[in-house]
Symmetry: C2
Subunit: 324 residues, 2 copies
Amino acid sequence: MKTAEEIQKKISEYIGSTSFSGTPKELYDPIVYIMSQGGKRLRPTLCLMACELFGGDIDNCLPSALAAEVFHNFTLVHDDIMDQAPIRRGKETVYKKWNSNIAILAGDVMQTKALELALSHRARHTYDVVTELCKVAREVCEGQQYDLNFETQDNVSIAEYIEMIRLKTAVLLGSVLKIGGLVAGASEEDIKNIYDFGINLGIAFQLQDDIFDCYGDAKTFGKMPGGDIADNKKTYLYLKALELSDDDDKKKLLSLFSMKPGRDDDKMRKVLDIYGKYEVKKLVTDVMRTYYDKSLTYLDKLSVPMERQTALRDYAEALYFREK
Amino acid sequence: MKTAEEIQKKISEYIGSTSFSGTPKELYDPIVYIMSQGGKRLRPTLCLMACELFGGDIDNCLPSALAAEVFHNFTLVHDDIMDQAPIRRGKETVYKKWNSNIAILAGDVMQTKALELALSHRARHTYDVVTELCKVAREVCEGQQYDLNFETQDNVSIAEYIEMIRLKTAVLLGSVLKIGGLVAGASEEDIKNIYDFGINLGIAFQLQDDIFDCYGDAKTFGKMPGGDIADNKKTYLYLKALELSDDDDKKKLLSLFSMKPGRDDDKMRKVLDIYGKYEVKKLVTDVMRTYYDKSLTYLDKLSVPMERQTALRDYAEALYFREK
């Protein structure tokens, strides 16, 4: 069984050997740009780990794993237009470096490229993999739309927020694990469990991300913290603070989150004061722990012996204790 | 053999029985909106006609035919953002009726929905159909990027323009005909010829569209004519006029096409005067005729008896002599 590092090395090599260039170069340069930026490579790593866990040959899984990574990067390119985000992974976003039109079009090609990669390895599992990629593509868009809706929607509930991040973030983690299982020819039961592991891990992962966005260090996080507060994003932290606040703090919070989006140190300090008063960081960390623990219960159910699970469990743990 | 009208009736019924709705409704309402607008249904019609031409069962082809129509509509939704086009088919464009973010996201889902439709009919041909749809998706984006490039590119050649419309418009017509052939199990040779028929028909079709954009009637054309001139689009008409103009007219044209994009009756009149002086409408009509005639030579090469070709030939002719 390969470790996460060994798998990530394989992914890097495979990405390095895959051409993202083409003509017109105005269309393909942004794709080369974003695909060469690195990032955690979380999705292909999980995909290959699942494949190996179920005894599959990870070489057969590389195209689908990369498909998921390209797909993920496509969603970032389009999301950054919608969120008008200038920086991602410490670098200018595609829309900022080029323009919105190029970012729309480059994203469109990346969505196609993802499927072309999955189709490039024609095998018994190809139909199911492509079908899964389409399903998850739709769900991720639904999640992004809920996220956009929340900007103007009052009374977003915590349940709605969790459903949003399930769609926007978690389903793709579930799907890549499922795809690894499909390539390996795992049983339906095992595939269901590894998928649910991914869903719960994904929700924990996003809650962690929300915490980093508030309390992270700019250097390790790769972008300025406080973006969610600047953008009035109704994250779990905000919703929990709102739930716990007394009337006075509730009024303050609502007023702070009605300000024109944009960075404002005074706003940031006031919001963090309220978050601190109601200990929402600790509360959200607890919820995150609950999802993480739940994710592991699905690994317990796998028909795979525990010693084969070590690499994946170690990786999930490292993800849980990550610093960015 | 069914006529175009019978086939179009089948497509309308099939579209009517296909659900494009979902949640969140902010995401799916625009898809329902654009898919219910009608339009020529040119791509699914050609797809089903090719299927029937080669002796296939068009019921097996309906999902792929609709896939192509959904894909085409996705490109319109995204193109209209990039071109900031307010009106399409006599109605507000998605980006105008909702906003850019929703139009980006709805388009993304439509691209997925197209493939899901093609995947929904699992058969011998499914892999090839989905692969073809991905290939053409990439090419159409490349064509759109060339179109965007031309906005700021000096010295666009007529050959470059033809290559742009080949990618942006013609390849999809070629592909839908090919897909019809794939579903019917046509020979490689026949598929190659029907594809090339589509490419040449598509170029003729786009040249016709350029002429309508200049000289069409707002009522039948579904949008105000003159959009290309207002947007300084370097169409065949413009490039030909530029090629033929004396120094004085060339200067005038270049200056008129350097104006800030936007409707301007005086500009429109001046440009049309120059077009008239050099008879570019007639010249482009002749070029269009050449592509149309060439398209028919590929039908001549088919292994299919002439009497089976009547419906498709009639349809191509009607397209050629269309008024919008």
